[in-house]
């Protein structure tokens, strides 16, 4: 059926001769307007695990308003209220999970206004995490607007606002009265950031001052899950609610000073922020205990406070020591202490329903953690240009990190000192070259090796090695062949840990771009990760020693073709294969696709696309799915032309 649809469309497109070109109409009102829209629909048919398909690709049947683009410019090139104004949008309608819109208007040396909006539907429902008890289907929205005034002048000012939101259905689990229950926890997260600042320039100096305020709110509430109210050991969470309003306010002050010299750039930066955290919890939950369903009500209230004052700064410089030798140097520091404290009071009320009596067991807890962090890093890179086509690179990085973490029970107002930190000193050295033997070829390779004196956690490597090579060869003007290889190795050989990560990645790609309508791309990638760490765990009540293994051998191949089948008709076809033959998660994904674009008038064209997705896992076959997606629409270009 899909094939017949395509053949019919191709016949329709082949019937006409080449479309006659028409000169664009004169700009109306002195504004040249260009733009295009693509509106249409999508049909999705799937088999196998619907949850797995939606987790991978949240595509649905419905309406699509895609590829909206508008471009306004004064006919004379500049002047008026703006030099240009553009609006781009994609993914609107109910068929796509991702929606984007961007607006920008600017006038040179006067202002630059940008606004953006992003929305996506996040779906996750896989049993391979938390036994499938944490499914979610959320909407994530992000919008922002920023305005720069006098952007290229001696004094420039800027102001901006950003808002992120997350809301929708979600489930979680909670440990309550020695049992584990699924809870419904519909997300209600929001954050706002407001910032303003100024930049003053007088060559070669410039100073930037910025103040911003970030406010984070979490108003997620928790309820017993209606679909799964029973716990793991026979209890039931019958009714109730948990409110956990959380607020974090973070003022951030940024200072930046800079001197741009001909041979010497110097930048100093300092950022101070202080995050203040505030939490109030109120639980009123009714449990039914055991087979007799004895009622127990938990009534708890908590207040939590935390703060994180942070100092971050750096001094950076680039010095052209000679015409061929350049030094880049940075000293960086960051320090903060996170002090959190939670005070909880309440009762566990044992209720005797028959006698209409109750017994209260008081609950009183106080606790928190303190985390102290200090990092100083010195980083130097040298670039030596040996020849116009060859340069050598060398670098050295030294870092001194102090990290301490401990629980505490200090009361409000008490001074909590940071715990004794673990000191980690690391050295990293690197070297490489960049070689461009001709206009047609380039090659870059580098190697980096680092060592650390200690590890804060077991899989923090004490020795790391990475080798990279990347090259591109253009044997003809329209043909490009590129490839790369990355070999990385991380180790922590401490007895009982034996953490070892071997990561090898080889890739090659060829692009033949004959014209905008004739494009051929193909590539192959092989990625091998073998990782192992010694672990100890209890199995059938016996302490067992084993290894945590991750072994993937992932092959990814792709080929795409864009082909002009006639003056009005452009065909596209593509195929992508993902095959993992490693022991950890053998899987096979096929993704063939095809499409056509047929111009049926000077400013109108029809588009139709088909794609098939086939997903197969060898270990979790119940997560397999296959899907057909057919989409099409009408692309309309404004008389002024495409943007």
């Amino acid at each position: 059926m899909v094939g017949a649809f395509f053949i019919l469309l191709m016949l329709l497109c082949g019937a006409g001769g080449p479309a006659a070109g028409q000169p664009p109409p004169a700009p109306a009102g002195g504004i040249q307007t260009r733009g295009e829209f693509l509106a249409g629909g999508q049909w999705v048919g799937s088999g196998g695990s619907q949850a797995s398909f939606f987790t991978d690709r949240y595509l649905r049947s419905g309406f699509n308003l895609d590829a909206v683009a508008l471009d306004f410019r004064p006919a004379g090139g500049s002047g008026g209220r703006f030099d240009f104004a553009t609006l781009h949008g994609s993914g609107f309608g109910n068929a796509q999970p991702y929606q984007n819109a961007d607006f920008r208007a600017a006038r040179r040396r006067l202002y630059d206004l940008r606004a953006g909006y992003r929305r996506f539907q996040y779906f996750f429902d896989l049993p391979s995490l938390a036994l499938g008890l944490h499914p979610e289907c959320n909407v994530n929205r992000s919008s922002q607007v920023s305005l720069k005034l006098f952007p290229e002048r001696a004094a420039a000012f800027h102001v901006g606002y950003r808002r992120n939101q997350q809301y929708g259905t979600a489930f979680t689990t909670s440990q309550l009265i020695l049992d584990t229950f699924q809870l419904s926890s519909p997300r209600r997260l929001a954050s706002d950031e407001f910032r303003f600042g100024a930049e003053l320039r007088r060559r070669p100096f410039s100073v930037l001052i910025e103040q911003s305020f970030v406010r984070f709110r979490d108003d997620t509430q928790f309820f017993p899950s209606l679909r799964n109210p029973d716990g793991f050991i026979g209890n039931r969470l019958a009714e109730g609610q948990r409110d956990l309003p959380t607020r974090i306010l973070t003022p951030v002050t940024r200072l930046l000073g800079r001197r741009d010299g001909v041979r010497h750039d110097l930048t100093g930066r300092y950022i101070y922020s202080k995050a203040d955290f505030d939490l109030h919890r109120f639980d009123s939950l009714l449990y039914r205990i055991g087979a007799a369903r004895l009622p127990v009500r938990q009534i708890l209230s908590s207040t939590g406070v935390s703060e994180k004052p942070s100092h971050l700064g750096s001094v950076t410089q680039s010095v052209e020591l000679t015409d061929r030798l350049t030094l880049h140097h940075q000293f960086f520091f960051n320090s903060y202490t996170i002090t959190g404290l939670l005070d909880t009071t309440g009762v566990l009320r044992m209720i005797n329903e028959r006698a209409n009596q109750s017994l209260d067991l008081p609950v009183e807890e106080r606790g928190g953690t303190v985390t102290g962090f200090k990092l100083a890093r010195n980083h130097m890179d040298l670039e030596l240009t040996l020849h116009r086509s060859l340069s050598l690179l060398g670098g050295y990085r030294y870092a001194d990190r102090h990290l301490g973490y401990a629980p505490h029970t200090s009361g409000p107002g008490a001074s909590v000192s940071a715990p004794r930190p673990l000191v980690t000193i690391s050295h990293a050295s690197s070297g490489g070259f960049a070689w461009i033997p001709s206009e047609k070829a380039r090659l870059r390779a580098d190697v980096e090796k680092s060592t650390s004196s200690s590890a804060f956690h077991r899989i923090e490597p004490l020795d790391s090695f990475r080798w990279r090579m990347r090259g591109e060869f253009r044997p003809a003007a329209r043909l490009s062949v590129s490839g790369g290889a990355v070999i990385a190795n991380n180790r922590n050989g401490t007895p009982g840990v034996n953490y070892d990560l071997d990561d090898r990645n080889y890739s090659a790609q060829a692009v033949y771009a004959y014209s905008e309508r004739f494009l051929l791309t193909g590539g192959y990638n092989f990625h091998q990760i073998h990782s192992s760490t010694d672990v100890r765990f209890f199995l059938a009540q016996r302490l067992t020693t084993g290894a945590s293994l991750y072994e993937t051998d992932t092959h990814v191949a792709h080929a795409d073709l864009l082909f002009p089948a006639g003056p009005r008709l452009t065909l596209s076809a593509g195929y992508q294969l993902v095959k993992d033959t490693g022991a950890s998660l053998p899987l096979l994904i096929h993704h063939p696709r095809a499409g056509l674009t047929c111009r049926i008038g000077e400013n109108v064209s029809i588009e139709a696309h088909w794609q098939h997705r086939s997903y197969k896992e060898r270990l979790f076959a119940f997560q397999d799915y296959r899907a057909q997606v057919l989409s099409g629409g009408l692309r309309i270009t404004l008389p002024g032309g495409r943007p």
């Binding site: 896989l126 391979s128 908590s302 890739s507 990782s531 209890f538």
Partner: protein
């Protein structure tokens, strides 16, 4: 004999390379238009037509030569080698022409410090429009990229295309996020050219609820960031984890779990069934709620 000749030949070659090219002077855009009529027409009314250099020997020069350099030698002996063509020159020289104007403000100020400059990638390797005409006709500071992200980045970073083909990934192929949302392509001092000082702040820009501070921290994130447990571009494991089965990931550090954590029971095989607040909790020191 052959052994002794090689160093001398190299020395001669070296000396030749250090020799200065003949002094070129500015001749004005009208001279260029005498031959390059098409380019001159494209440039009329474009943002680069009135581009003027503000410092150095070229102070006050505008038009073609503000980008292509002094044209006296090229006017006398027309050849691609006698003028800056943005094709044959070393990347640092090509970028240097652009940065003379565009390097005065962010985001380009730190271009020389980034990995692209070190790898000899020049501005016009990415920014050159669809073709020479579209670039010369540029009428406003609009997008001049050769193509859209992420395909543009895949041309060199070939391995990233494969990462984003995996089942668990950030939505870059769908165009919802761009490589430049996390990485600063114009260079900075951060490792991997990340937009913030450390990985955790880059991730926190979108994943704000994972950023804290928490009353009860999971300090591994403070020690070495999100990449301890997650692969940033794509993974075969759910939630971009570095292990397919979450218990093995947790056990790598927590190899001293209490004895009741018996992996023969399904409940204990999935650590996050109970330890739900793995990024940090506001209620429980063991990250249970």
């Amino acid at each position: 004999m052959r052994r002794t000749a090689v160093p001398w030949l190299l020395l001669v070659l070296w000396a030749g390379l250090w020799a200065q090219s003949p002094q070129r002077t500015y001749v004005g855009s009208d001279t260029c238009a005498g031959c390059h009529t098409e380019h001159s027409e494209w440039l009329r009314g474009s943002v680069h037509e009135k581009a003027a250099l503000a410092s150095g020997a070229a102070k006050g020069q505008s038009g073609c030569e503000s980008c292509h350099g002094p044209g006296s030698e090229h006017a006398e002996s027309p050849s691609p080698k006698s003028i800056i063509t943005f094709r044959l020159e070393p990347a640092s020289q090509r970028s240097g022409r652009c940065l003379a104007c565009h390097g005065l403000a962010q985001p380009n100020r730190d271009f020389r410090r980034g990995g692209h400059a070190a790898g000899r990638v020049a501005c016009n390797d990415c920014h050159r429009g669809r073709n020479s005409e579209s670039f010369h006709r540029l009428r406003a500071a609009a997008d001049t990229l050769r193509g859209a992200q992420p395909a543009l980045c895949y041309r060199c970073h070939t391995a990233r295309r494969a990462d984003f083909a995996l089942p668990s990934r950030h939505p870059a192929p769908e165009g919802h996020i761009k490589c430049s949302d996390c990485h600063q392509p114009h260079g900075n001092y951060n490792l991997r050219q990340l937009r913030s000082r450390g990985v955790e702040e880059v991730c926190g820009k979108c994943h704000e609820d994972k950023q804290g501070p928490f009353l009860f921290e999971h300090p591994v994130g403070r020690a070495s960031g999100c990449l301890t447990c997650h692969r940033p571009h794509g993974s075969t494991s759910p939630k971009l984890l570095t292990r397919v089965d979450v218990r093995w990931l947790c056990l790598e550090c927590h190899s001293n779990t209490p004895s009741f954590h018996d992996l023969s029971q399904a409940r204990y095989r999935n650590c996050t069934v109970c330890h739900v607040r793995i990024h940090g909790s506001n209620l429980n020191r063991r990250l249970l709620e």
